[in-house]
Symmetry: C2
């Protein structure tokens, strides 16, 4: 079970796209912490994911959004700086393996400033999508798409094993 | 070497996001066939990928966009319908393996109607990202992000082997 958690998202289009992605990848739980944009306008970008947005849980704090999960993974474009233990990261494929069969929250930060160090320290792991050394900062909804794709791939691998 | 080919894109934001993704994943070649939206406005969504958009090749036909590559991969949300041989597909991880070390064009269709059958028949492979049976249609730029992520992963696997 995956829960997508958006912390204080600022862009309508990103929230809409993420709702669509939840539908695309059969993710049932979308939590939005203290949105900084208009969720009504976000519907314009959700295509057939409108329902995922309408039933999203809107909460005030990150702690509330993390209630009831087994595993919490924060995400960041900024990871593995020498000497900074808080920012040691795992890649998506490892994260998907670690999360297998667990209720896993994937936590995404603000478009402008990402997650705070305090928010990252609430997670069990920091997840980083390897990208260009010069410009590793993906747009929020594109980071979401890559992780939902990778977690789905891992879940289906399970299924094949179970059936085999 | 990856070349991203967008066929008649209709949404400014998608073109801008794709330019950003090219920069995020160190993709040097972006071709845009007969754009149906304003490329100037697309710059607003490119963040630090503006240069990738400014140096994109804008051409009139898909054939022109495919000159000089070894391998052509069309993409579609609609694949593997019984009895339709044109739509037998490979998943992203297989595509990335097949494309290893080759000049590979990844061809993406219109937001409204995708690629025509004629356009798909110009490719060597059809690539489909496994997604929800109920709603497998990803937004254009999110399909791009997942494939660039997967091809980069495969390229880096190479590197590790070479260095080992
Ligand atoms: N890679 C990582 N991802 C998430 N949390 C981590 C982490 N490495 C350490 N932590 C957690 O971070 C906390 C202390 S690290 C100290 C960071 C401090 N809050 C700061 O802002 O500088 C501990 O709870 C530890 O378990
Ligand atoms: N390479 C990457 N790996 C993992 N998550 C990423 C990512 N690029 C972007 N994201 C996600 O997208 C969100 C918005 S990007 C935030 C960028 C901000 N300038 C910063 O300083 O962090 C991030 O908080 C993270 O959740
Ligand atoms: N699941 C998926 N696998 C591969 N490519 C996809 C995809 N979902 C969307 N795309 C890409 O995004 C583009 C726009 S989506 C096009 C949808 C259109 N209604 C149709 O009938 O095809 C597609 O042409 C394809 O390039």
């Amino acid at each position: 079970m995956i829960r997508v958690v958006l912390v204080e998202p600022e862009g309508e289009y990103n929230v809409g796209f993420v709702a669509r992605l939840c539908r695309n990848f059969d993710v049932e739980q979308l939590y939005i912490v203290n949105p900084r944009c208009d969720l009504r306008s976000a519907l314009n970008f959700a295509a057939h994911g409108k329902e995922a947005l309408l039933k999203a849980q809107v909460v005030d704090t990150l702690s509330q959004a993390l209630e009831g999960v087994d595993l919490k993974m924060a995400t960041s474009s900024d990871a593995d700086n020498p000497g900074d233990i808080l920012r040691l990261s795992i890649p998506p494929w490892t994260a998907a393996e670690v999360g297998r069969g667990k209720r896993t929250a994937l936590i995404f930060g603000r478009e402008s400033v990402g997650l705070t160090r305090e928010e990252i320290s609430m997670a069990d792991f920091l997840l980083h999508i390897p990208a260009s050394k010069e410009y590793p900062v993906l747009n929020l909804s594109h980071a979401v798409s890559i992780l939902l794709y990778e977690f789905r791939r891992e879940a289906n691998r399970d299924q094949r094993n179970v059936n085999a």
